[in-house]
């Protein structure tokens, strides 16, 4: 059986079940889903514009092609990908479907693929419902992976801010993914490393804009396409043979960095048939991105080419970020589910709302919730909220807040002094000051203990 997020979520699940048997509330379906949410792995929603590659990203994370791709507006329903053990519990009503499947993070996450946002078909409403505070379904997903391709569009920032405002404040539960990393300025920038940085930069740019809004997000650049090549085992010997020819010839290799068009010219000049490249072209439409990372001709085989695609795709970095969020599944899930329950019960009349809110408040003062302020601060520290703070100080603080050992070369008091200077809210804003204060308090308690 798949383990739930943790004791705090379990407490809320029990409360939701108690409320479900109350006849005056009439919300069995809703409350059953709140209880289910509190007993399942972290629900992560993937959202973005049509054709931003949401489904490809989901497929890459799943390691197989389950989500429909390569058609404009391919996902018409909100699709939940979850561990086979979770079968039986129906997802939310119309516009939602569930697919039970095993995938690398299946025991830690439930992935929710959503219809694209810029569509006229009406299916985007299901996505907006999950994102906006004004809808009952909001909070169904406790974390959000938001895909942007190139420059973030006008609505992105507002939509993310809406999602962040769902809870009682920032949690650091939004991952901004710069997708289709390989397509960004393929022709204008030669060096592939430089190219990747640009994509990260573009994601970071949105991040900075959000940061100004005091919303804290993490950013990762991913090439979904290369991730699919690696994860779905698409590399064949014929691809390896072609790549071997390219890397074995310095000139071919150099032109390959500039993309298929230039490579094609040199290739033909060598008297080779242009159509021979077709299989590789179909596999890796953006070859330039990969070239500088390719191993030497002698070391090339199916496994090493696949591994190279995997590395360059940076999908594992995204998985690592998601796994970090899953470590705090209890905090994220119970926060989202509590807000869900609050908004829902507000529609059930004044007295009932007051009573349930009181029950929720009492529950939140329980000991299962005591470590949450620290965990929340740790989550926020791994976003760029306090980006100006040296990495060593931040890593130390995160380890401290998570109760993990961390060696520092200087006296603890010196580090605390530095963090104390960061607790002024007038100079850093209230949220950053609060995070710094949480660090100081935890450190002082450790020092005196």
């Amino acid at each position: 059986m798949i383990a739930g997020p943790g004791p705090a979520s379990e407490a809320l699940a029990v409360l939701a079940e108690e409320l479900a048997v109350r006849e005056d509330l009439r919300g069995e379906g809703f409350l059953a889903d709140v209880a289910a949410q509190c007993r399942q792995p972290l629900r992560v929603m993937v959202a973005g514009y049509v054709s931003s590659g949401k489904s490809t990203l989901v497929n890459a994370l799943l390691g197989r092609e389950l989500a429909g791709v390569n058609r404009r507006e391919t996902t018409a329903e909100v699709t939940w990908y979850r561990h086979p053990d979770l079968a039986g519990q129906p997802p939310l009503g119309g516009g939602h479907r569930a697919v039970e499947t095993g995938f690398p993070l299946a025991d830690r996450l439930v992935l929710i693929d959503s219809p694209g946002l810029n569509t006229d078909s009406g299916s985007q409403q299901a996505t907006l419902n999950l994102l906006s505070a004004s809808h009952e379904e909001a909070g169904t997903a406790a974390a959000l992976v938001y895909l942007v391709v190139g420059e973030p569009a006008a609505g992105d920032v507002e939509r993310l801010a809406d999602f962040i405002a769902l809870g009682s404040g920032d949690l650091g539960n939004v991952v901004l993914v710069g997708g289709k990393a390989e397509t960004v300025s393929e022709t204008s920038i030669k060096d592939s490393v430089e190219r990747r940085e640009t994509v990260e930069e573009s994601a970071a740019k949105t991040e900075r804009r959000l940061l100004i809004r005091k919303a804290c997000v993490r950013s990762v650049a991913v090439s979904q396409q290369l991730a699919m090549v690696a994860r779905c085992g698409r590399v064949r010997q014929e691809h390896v043979d072609l790549v071997r020819v390219i890397v074995g010839d310095p000139e071919l290799r150099r032109f390959a960095e500039n993309g298929w068009a230039q490579l094609g010219l040199v290739w033909s000049a060598r008297g080779r048939a242009a159509e021979a490249l077709a299989p590789l072209r179909a596999l890796i439409p953006s070859l330039g991105w990969l070239v500088s990372e390719l191993p030497a001709a002698g070391e090339l085989d199916v496994a090493s080419l696949s591994a190279c695609c995997e590395r360059v795709s940076r999908l594992s970095r995204l998985e690592q970020v998601l796994a970090e969020l899953a470590d705090d599944a209890d905090l994220l899930t119970v926060t989202a589910a509590t807000e869900r329950l609050r908004r829902w019960v507000d529609q059930r009349g004044r007295l009932r709302a007051a009573k349930v809110r009181e029950q929720l408040d009492r529950m939140w003062s329980g000991e299962e919730f005591e470590a949450f302020p620290r965990r929340r601060a740790a989550l926020l520290l791994s976003t760029s909220l306090l980006a100006d703070i040296p990495v060593a100080d931040r890593d130390w603080a995160i380890a401290l807040l998570r109760g993990k050992p961390y060696e520092i070369p200087e006296p603890l008091t010196a580090v605390i002094q530095r963090w104390r200077r960061r607790t002024g809210s007038g100079t850093r804003g209230v949220l950053a000051a609060d995070v710094a204060q949480t660090v100081v308090t935890a450190a002082v308690r450790q020092l005196t203990g």
Binding site: A165, R374, V430
Partner: protein
């Protein structure tokens, strides 16, 4: 006449009301006083201008974010929290808040000519009982007993109601320095106000606008490479003196909003901030405030008919205009403050509300989740020997001469509940008592007379349950020696003589001679016998009367304090350097934990919800700490700044009560209710 104190996140204000009119109380000749405290070298906590002046030179000894600490969730509730000054110099949070409230209260007293008028304290509407308890505790420490607690939103409601004879539902948006509180109130026709809805953002407030001012200044300086040195100067200024940077930013914020532009000036830095530029940079903050208020209008259980915006940051025109626009859009009447026409509008909304509120007050309770109470000098033990039992203290005057052994000297129970010393019923009349002991495993009292006859008693019975005949001849004790300590567990009784002989009776009779006379004995659960001497603790096997292990104390009493948790087989020592814990359940003393930053002059072990808890009195800071006996983690504290220091701490080890015995024999009672996690 009544007084109100509004303890704010950045500033504290006070006001006085008399016959319908109100006037602000000047604190340090100003309308408001900073809510920061400064820890002086002599240990005093300064508030107001004194604190700010001292902080110029030693900013690290200042703490400004006191209210925010009560606001924010933490695994330790506010009444038990400590505030750090200069890294690990700690003071209780409530004592710091007390310094701020006390400073304002002194200003009130000056205004009233020393007459103590009833005081009303206000708090954010979202505060729960635990948070309010911290405010009450702080007031008590400041020497004030507030006549009532009132939420800031309700105070605003009372004022609006008095000023406009308004009834119906009212939304109050309180935009403070570091928090946003939204409440929907029901102003009922029958002299009552009910809170219908509360919401808020604990991480959004006026300080965020100040921060944007600083960001604008930094951006302006970094635009021009020639300003690189100035930018460094600016960054260093912000890091070293954040409160001054924030204050300058606040000034610029106000001026820019009011007059169109203002200059941020510090040393060589002079950067002009224009109103439009400032409004652009803070638009997202206004959006967030509007979003919260919109949620309260649309999503709450009760749709408000009117809205009022209060709080210091609400003076910013951009916030006010945006909320007025929202009200217009939602069909809610937006009421403004300055239209009230009431006298004394210079005082805060909160104070005005306090004036309008009918008396008597009540209904706003406050209780800590894990309350610790300290009743100072409520019992008396005189010079008698005392031992703690679950009901109170058993006291008896020791008789040292053999002739006194038949004298009619009673041993009495001074009950904690009656609090009347020495007039409770007679407990027992043993034939002379030289030493008293308590057996927590069987809830029995044990007495040893000077002739070495020992008796075990059920507390309250006047006949001994069990007695052991005079035995002093068979040991090596000399007739000139006296009994100095006794302990019992089940059938075993042990006592120590002043010539260092420890005798153990039970199924067998054994004795041994130690190097130094012990002054305290206790059995552990194993059972072993612990004997505390002047400089060491000896672990004894009572069956064979062999010494198993010796723990050297860091120094002699009174520099070293010792506590024994017999049932948990734990031993605690405290000095002016640290507190340490040892386990003695396996024939030897094994270190369990050590806390370097804590010092204590008296220790005792109580039991709270079946967990052993170590109580340690810190002479330097003058407070009682409650530490988890097994881990040393602090669970609670009780400020005893104004109480006498204990000469000795007594506890029976089975209840959550400890008795602090002072020099003159008065006893204070320290009670731990509620579970410590």
């Amino acid at each position: 006449m009544i007084a109100a104190i509004d303890f704010g996140a950045s500033a504290t204000k006070a006001a006085l009301f008399e016959e319908g009119s109100s006037r602000p109380v000047l604190i340090d000749a100003a309308h408001e006083s900073s809510s920061a405290v400064f820890l002086h070298r002599d240990g005093r906590l300064l508030s107001g201008v004194g604190a700010l002046a001292s902080a110029q030179r030693r900013p690290h000894r200042m703490q400004a974010a006191l209210k925010r600490r009560i606001n924010r969730p933490d695994e330790i509730e506010p009444v038990h929290q400590e505030v750090e000054f200069d890294t690990v110099v700690l003071r209780p949070l409530v004592r710091c808040v007390a310094a701020v409230i006390g400073h304002a209260w002194q200003a009130v007293l000056q205004e009233t000519g020393g007459v103590e008028v009833p005081l009303l304290l206000t708090h954010p509407v979202g505060w729960n009982e635990i948070q309010r308890a911290a405010l009450l505790e702080a007031a008590a420490l400041a020497g004030v007993r507030p006549a009532g607690l009132l939420s800031e939103a309700e105070a605003v409601g009372w004022h609006i109601r008095a000023a406009r004879q308004l009834t119906g539902t009212l939304l109050v948006a309180d935009v403070g320095a570091s928090t946003l509180d939204v409440a929907v109130l029901d102003l009922e026709p029958s002299d009552r106000i009910t809170v219908r809805y509360t919401d808020g953002d604990n991480y959004l407030g006026g300080d965020d606008f100040d921060r944007e001012v600083l960001a604008l200044v930094a951006a302006a300086l970094s635009d021009d490479p020639r300003d690189a040195a100035l930018l460094t100067e600016f960054t260093e200024f912000c890091d070293a003196l954040p409160h001054l940077a924030a204050r300058e930013a606040e000034r610029v914020k106000r001026m820019a909003a009011e007059t169109g532009a203002a200059v941020f000036a510090r040393g060589d830095i002079a950067v002009e901030v224009a109103r439009d530029e400032f409004f652009d940079a803070t638009a997202h903050l206004v959006d967030r405030i509007v979003g919260r208020v919109r949620r309260a209008i649309e999503g709450g259980t009760t749709r408000p008919e009117a809205m009022v915006v209060s709080g210091g940051a609400a003076r910013l025109s951009s916030i006010h205009d945006a909320l007025a626009e929202l009200a217009d859009e939602a069909g809610v009447a937006c009421l403004a403050w300055d239209e009230s026409g009431l006298p004394g509008t210079a005082t805060t909304a909160v104070s005005l509300g306090a004036a309008s509120m009918p008396r008597p007050w009540g209904g706003n309770t406050a209780r800590a989740r894990r309350p610790v109470t300290l009743e100072h000098a409520v019992l008396s033990a005189g010079a008698a020997q005392a031992v703690a039992v679950p009901d109170g203290l058993v006291v008896g005057t020791p008789m040292l001469g053999l002739r006194e052994q038949s004298a009619n000297a009673p041993v009495e129970l001074v009950r904690r509940s009656t609090r009347r010393p020495r007039d409770d019923r007679l407990l027992l009349r043993p034939h002379g008592v030289a030493a008293l002991g308590y057996d927590p495993s069987g809830d029995r009292l044990v007495t040893v007379a000077q002739d070495r006859s020992a008796c075990v008693w059920d507390i309250g019975e006047d006949r001994p349950l069990r007695s052991y005949r005079a035995y002093w001849q068979s040991g090596s004790a000399k007739p000139s020696s006296s009994v100095v300590a006794v302990a019992a567990r089940g059938r075993q009784v042990a006592w120590a003589d002043s010539d260092a002989v420890v005798s153990i009776v039970g199924s067998d009779r054994t004795s041994l001679r130690l190097g130094h006379p012990p002054h305290r004995l206790a059995f552990t659960a194993v059972p072993y016998l612990l004997a505390v001497g002047a400089d060491r603790i000896t672990l004894i096997d009572p069956g064979t009367a062999e010494t198993l292990d010796v723990l050297q104390l860091p120094g002699p009493a009174p520099r070293t304090a010792v506590a024994l948790a017999g049932e948990a087989s734990l031993v605690f020592t405290a000095s002016d350097r640290d507190i340490q814990c040892y386990d003695c359940s396996r024939e030897r003393f094994t270190p369990v934990w050590k806390r370097d930053a804590f010092v204590a002059s008296a220790l005792a072990v109580v039991r709270v919800e079946s967990h052993p808890v170590l109580i340690a009195y810190d002479t330097k800071i003058r407070l009682y700490r409650a530490l988890d006996a097994r881990t040393g983690v602090q669970k609670a504290l009780k400020d005893a700044e104004h109480a006498a220091a204990p000469a000795e701490l007594l506890a029976d080890g089975t209840t959550g009560v400890a008795y602090a015995r002072h020099e003159r024999g008065e006893v204070s009672v320290l009670t731990f209710a509620g579970a410590l996690p």
